[in-house]
């Protein structure tokens, strides 16, 4: 009897041991997001508003509405659009994470991509079939090189990528907003009568047009999905992806085995830069229509959050980005009752904090799963 009971409890434990890593990889971000909502709810309550009413409006704004409204993407369209932009910057950071680098420079690469798209968008005057490939390839290459620069400095000069990417962000911002946009690319040069600040509007043939009249949702979402598939295949199916991940997980072993770790880092940073740049281009060719006088939407930095919550994988990053895109889309609804939409940033911030502390959360999960005190070290020695 006893052994039988032991056997079945063993089976459960076996299952738990086999699956705990995968399960908790899945559960940690969800718990983090829930905690994010709880903390934000408390803050809404502290500011004297009703958090339940606020969240009802939030979800209504995000996905709610009548069947017809959902089908025509009238409500969720805005959220999906934001999600698409976030997906692309999130993937940028995720690819860099996979090679072991922290790409804080997604913001700068985003801005570079945006200005390249804005410039070519009003300069090129051909059919969309020619314009789009030229613009996106140019954006990918130029932003890619901007990202690769940080990787190159790392392997050649040993400068930490966090330092270089932060500096490159400022270089990009100042180069673009204090020179190009007010100088050579400024609208005044082309239309002296204009009262606008920023660059001229891109040609109609280079606009990503809304699918439906009800929302601004455009082909960005398709580009984002293609990018997700691309990154997924890159990381899990290709030789290059294998080299990138080996370098990220143990650079010493990768180097010892003869993998060119420097090349893996620079290539990964190129891809990261290209993805962030494409994100910027989508924003310009889609919603903005031109590079405005002041344009710092922060999507590059938000990409860090998406990659962290998404566990640095393509699919996870996609889900995180779409989720937070919808939340942001719905946040406009919360404004109806006087809650500023930046409250959703708190949800995002708290969730990130929790994912960053996931070692702690996993530890608690394991402990619940095993119902016995276990320290990491002891768990390890149990294996030998």
């Amino acid at each position: 009897m006893r052994t039988k009971a032991l056997d079945s409890s063993n089976e459960i434990l076996n299952w738990w041991n086999r699956e705990k890593e995968r399960l908790s990889n899945f559960l940690v971000p969800i718990i983090a997001i829930i905690v994010g909502f709880l903390v934000t709810g408390i803050m809404i309550a502290l500011s004297g508003k009703d958090p339940f009413a606020a969240y009802t409006l939030l979800f209504k704004g995000a996905i709610g509405g009548s069947f017809q409204e959902i089908i025509t993407l009238k409500v969720s369209g805005e959220g999906l659009l934001k999600g698409a932009i976030l997906t692309l910057t999130g993937l940028s950071v995720a690819v860099a994470f996979n090679v072991g680098l922290f790409n804080i420079g997604a913001e700068g690469q985003f801005i570079i991509g945006a200005i390249v798209a804005a410039y070519l968008g009003f300069k090129l005057n051909m059919s969309p079939w020619i314009n789009f490939p030229i613009i996106f390839i140019a954006v990918a290459v130029i932003s890619g090189l901007y990202g690769a620069l940080a990787g190159w400095l790392k392997i050649k000069r040993g400068v930490h990528e966090v330092i270089t990417t932060i500096m490159l962000n400022w270089i990009a911002i100042n180069l673009v907003e204090n020179w190009l946009v007010v100088g050579p690319f400024s609208i005044e040069k082309y239309q002296p009568t204009s009262f606008l600040a920023g660059t001229p509007y891109v040609k109609d043939a280079s606009r990503l047009k809304p699918f439906f009249s009800a929302t601004r949702l455009n082909a960005s979402i398709i580009i984002a999905v293609v990018a997700v598939i691309f990154v997924y295949i890159l990381l899990s199916k290709t030789v290059l992806g294998y080299e990138i991940r080996a370098t990220g997980k143990n650079p010493k072993a990768a180097k010892y085995a003869g993998i060119n770790t420097g090349r893996a880092m620079v290539t990964a940073m190129f891809i990261a830069g290209a993805l962030a740049g494409i994100s910027g281009a989508c924003m310009i060719l889609g919603t903005e229509g031109r590079y405005p006088g002041v344009f710092r939407p922060g999507y590059g930095f938000d990409g860090i959050t998406m990659a962290l919550i998404g566990g640095s994988g393509a699919i996870g990053t996609f889900f995180a980005a779409i989720f937070f895109g919808l939340v942001r889309g719905g946040a406009t609804g919360m404004q109806l009752m006087g809650i500023h939409k930046t409250f959703t940033d708190i949800i995002q911030g708290v969730a990130t904090l929790f994912v960053a502390g996931q070692v702690g959360i996993k530890f608690l999960l394991y402990r619940i799963g095993e119902k016995r005190p276990l320290t990491k070290e002891v768990a390890k020695s149990a294996n030998d």
Binding site: N10, N250, A253, P373, D384
Partner: protein, 512 residues
């Protein structure tokens, strides 16, 4: 009835899928040195963790000094006089020796101020009492490993331990430090302490222990008096069969020179020359043993020979061709494979699966790839094949390498490196931390390479291993080759003198 320091009755502990301890009953007398040996995974560490209260047994009773222990936990174990020194030290490098020893039991003056003078005095007192010399005001980070271990032992003694559990204490030590540790253990024994010594090195336990318990697959196979048994007898109990200490080698005369090193100078990380102009030749059909005490340039030499470290001066010639490009890929392409000294740090990508580790570095070969893509089928086939061929356990190439035992991790590394079919195999500490069975396996593989006409360089701090496998031995001391001799002429005494720098052959004697 005599009172025992530790008495265990039918201790059983089950982990998912394995019975880690199966009805273990044993008695450890007061004031004895009791050794526990067994292969990796035999359940030694689990049993110690139960005694120390890190685990709770599923059934069975523990008596410490005759008192039954209920619901044990580390704090209580310490209270009852049990102290444990872990394999990996738990010291704070930036603190001084004294600060580390008193951590958690600080002497406080006026309620808040740490009484440094009293601390130093108390530490001095305890170190003198047991004859364990330490400098109380030295920062722990500056101390050699052997002394750090001594600090750990003092830390445990300071908390009033009467029973000391030492978990694989010699794994990280040099031969000299091991000797000093043994003196320490004898001093503890003379002071009336009970020492439980966990190891898988048979020679050591025979030297230091009074009695030896042998574990296998969670079972206690027997307890032997150290005086009444031999290495062979213990090994048979441990592995369950006769272990071949002498591995038969084919009669071979060394063939062509395949690797030649001329006046090689290599710098250490600190920028001083670690290898000071050495020259040697490696031929086919031979194992060249490089003996020496740790830290005499072995690491730098190995890294230079595998392209991981640039050469400052001198030449490396592979098949007579001078190497101009010092990068690991070039060396691998030239037929040099490398079993690194640290499999976890360099040999494996631990979060990758076994099969992903088995082709690390070969991902661009046509067998493993289809254009830009990995050939998953071939990757899996190769992984499954090697797992069976090398008996890598568990037999599942999709497990994460981190989840394997040390011996099986090393098998993954050896399988990969041998599968390169290299002309030159550089094996650095290939059996470090491995148990008898796994070591035997690795030794067989090295000899197989030699017998099939390849050249092997074996770098090891263990003289026994060098003498058993090598055809020719060079001794490295202070970054120079101080002696070279054929294996059949080498004696332990002679090599020992060379290794310690007490003797040195003239250049003419070195040339062969």
């Amino acid at each position: 009835m005599a009172e025992y320091a530790v008495e265990l009755k039918n201790i059983t502990k089950v982990f998912p899928g394995v019975v880690a301890n199966d009805k273990i009953s044993l008695k450890i007398e007061k004031g004895e040195v009791f050794a526990i040996v067994g292969e990796n995974g035999a359940g030694k560490t689990t049993l110690m963790n139960i005694i120390y209260g890190l685990y709770t047994q599923d059934s069975g009773d523990i008596y410490i000094f005759g008192k039954k222990v209920m619901h044990n936990f580390p704090g209580k174990a310490i209270e009852m006089g049990i102290g444990m020194v872990h394999q990996h030290f738990m010291l704070i490098p930036k603190f001084t020796v004294a600060e580390n020893i008193i951590l958690g039991e600080e002497f406080v003056r006026n309620g808040i101020v740490l009484d440094i003078r009293k601390t130093t005095e108390e530490v001095k007192k305890i170190s003198e009492k047991y004859g364990l010399k330490v400098e109380p005001n030295e920062k722990v980070g500056n101390l050699p490993v052997g002394i750090q271990q001594r600090v750990e032992i003092l830390k445990v003694l300071f908390r009033g331990a009467k029973i000391l559990i030492l978990d694989e204490p010699t794994a990280v030590l040099t031969p000299q430090e091991i000797k000093e540790l043994f003196e320490t253990i004898n001093a503890l024994k003379n002071a009336g302490k009970t020492v439980i010594f966990i190891s898988h090195k048979l020679k050591e336990v025979l030297e230091i222990a009074d009695r030896i318990a042998v574990f296998k697959n969670g079972k206690l196979m027997g307890i032997e008096d150290a005086k009444g048994t031999t290495e062979r007898g213990l090994a048979r109990l441990m592995v369950g069969r006769d272990v071949v200490f002498e591995i038969p080698k084919k009669e071979k005369t060394p063939g062509d020179v395949i690797l030649e090193v001329k006046n090689l100078v290599v710098m250490s990380d600190k920028g001083i020359s670690a290898i000071k102009g050495i020259s040697f030749k490696l031929r086919r059909d031979e194992i060249l043993g490089i003996a020496g005490v740790e830290g005499n340039g072995q690491r730098e030499l190995v890294e230079a020979l595998t392209g991981l470290r640039p050469v400052k001066e001198g030449k490396i010639l592979i098949r007579g061709q001078e190497v101009k490009k010092f990068d690991p890929w070039f060396f691998r392409k030239s037929g040099v494979a490398h079993i690194p000294e640290d499999r976890r740090d360099r040999g494996l990508v631990l979060p990758f699966t076994v099969s992903y580790n088995l082709f690390l570095g070969r991902q661009r070969e046509s067998y493993f790839s289809k254009g830009m893509f990995l050939n998953r089928k071939n990757v899996d086939d190769f992984g499954n094949g090697k797992v069976l061929e090398y008996d890598i356990r568990p037999h599942n190439s999709n497990l994460v390498a981190d989840s394997l035992s040390g011996g099986n991790q090393q098998k993954v590394v050896v399988a990969r490196e041998v599968s390169y079919d290299p002309d030159i195999l550089i094996a650095a500490q290939p059996t470090r931390g491995l148990d008898v069975g796994a070591s035997e396996f690795v030794h067989h593989k090295l000899i197989e390479q030699r017998d099939s006409g390849k050249a092997v360089t074996l770098i090891s701090f263990e003289l026994e291993e060098i003498m058993m496998l090598s055809d020719r031995i060079v001794v490295l001391y202070g970054g120079e080759i101080v002696g070279e001799l054929p294996a059949e002429k080498a004696t332990e005494e002679e090599l020992g003198l060379l290794m310690l720098g007490l003797k040195r052959y003239e250049k003419s004697e070195v040339a062969l």
